[in-house]
Assembly symmetry: C2
Homo-oligomer: 250 residues x 2
């Protein structure tokens, strides 16, 4: 598939002005079709599409494990998947029916509490963000992506995307494919933390979400309820803990 950016001509203005070549991040339209009936379009950075597909399906509750996927076929800008779920029709209706800008109020009742004894120490959080920044190659080139990483034992699975949601879908998918034990893992990333993001994390069973950005009130409510430790404004050697502080060793 195509690379992650195009190079375009632009004019750089600072004091004077000069023509330059600039790298601009690619966003392409990808359609995900499950069982020929559930169809969703995404504006996405065109890489790691298999990881995106399985991560999205898991995060939306359309599958419970890789065993529920009978087939994935990625061709050009279309991802066709066949999934095997008894209650697919009911779940499909929920996913399609909820608007992407605000479906979380319907969804919150379907989120279970994350059952995990996982803890992580503050140095690991701070060091992981340094590594996240280094791994964000497309962001370094274009300034136009979000970056996420799923951390489990010695694995550090990072992905970038123009969409903060898709960046997280991709690392969840990568984790599923590498058989990460989600309840002993955590996610760090570069976006804000509203309810739909916390619901996704909680549904997968991940006990800690950390970001260099801000939470919102809806995300705060879900994090409290779902047993997720939410960290915000991780910058340099500092951060805020908004929920379930017992998961952080200070």
């Amino acid at each position: 598939m195509s690379q992650m950016y195009d190079t375009v001509s632009a004019i750089k203005v600072q004091g004077g002005s000069q023509p330059i070549m600039e790298k601009v991040v690619k966003d392409e339209e990808i359609e995900l079709i499950a069982n020929e009936t559930l169809k969703r379009k995404f504006s996405i950075s065109p890489d790691s599409l298999k990881e995106f597909a399985v991560g999205y399906l898991l995060g939306e509750g359309l599958i419970r494990s890789l065993e529920n996927i009978n087939e994935i076929n990625i061709e050009d800008h279309t991802i066709n998947v066949q999934v095997d779920m008894e209650d697919f029709d009911i779940i499909q209706e929920l996913v399609v029916g909820s608007d992407c800008f605000g479906g979380w109020r319907q969804k919150i009742e379907f989120v279970n509490k994350v059952e995990s004894e996982f803890t992580v120490d503050k140095e690991t959080i701070i060091n992981s963000f340094n590594r996240l920044k280094e791994s964000a190659r497309i962001w370094q080139e274009t300034g136009g992506t979000h970056v996420a990483a799923l951390i489990y034992k010695d694995k550090f699975l990072s992905r970038e995307d123009v969409s903060r949601h898709v960046a997280v879908d991709k690392v969840i998918g990568a984790g599923l494919l590498e058989e990460v034990d989600f309840k002993n893992s955590f996610i760090i990333y570069s976006g804000r933390m509203p309810a739909d993001m916390l619901i996704k994390i909680a549904r997968v069973g991940i006990p800690v979400l950390a970001s260099n950005a801000a939470p919102t009130t809806s995300g705060y409510a879900v994090a409290q309820e779902a047993g997720v430790c939410m960290l915000g404004f991780v910058r340099g050697d500092r951060f805020n803990i908004y929920s379930h502080a017992e998961r952080i060793l200070l």
Copy 2:
């Protein structure tokens, strides 16, 4: 309506740790219903809802002027509008049918070129961003909003929102209510610039969009095509011009 943030208890970690009270930006679910048939939900900062409604309707092409709005009724979390358009059914289908994450490929053919001789000098761009930062009060408190401003003659209409799209809808709406001549105005804001944002700007007829963030390839394509001058990475005294540089006086 409720204020723009809640105050919650959190733990601040830096060296040691201490309990603090933190302001967290509110995001609430708002439903916009047009002519009882077109229904869309948004996760939004709950202020300037009238501006949001008229700006969204104009930016999506559901109205052409304030005269097309017969009634707006805002009650709690629902905005009911009655609009008067001959081709409402056709347009409604386009708006509802396109997914919010990637409907722009269907929409691009409906975007007209911005017809305007408008120019702006580089000092005005740089000074406007300083003023934008000062006006971003909720961002200063919470770190959780996007901010946009529409600038026309001596007007500087700025609004904040958890959604970058809604921040822009709100300033477009504010401009429409204050009878701004859009073709001699410009928008500055804090978000990235993909196609759907450029299509909105172009449809309203605004000739310049400037951001402190990055463009994407889809936004670049639309800006070129639609006659919009797109500026990115406006930071301190520098910026990049990606399209229609003739609109910037250097």
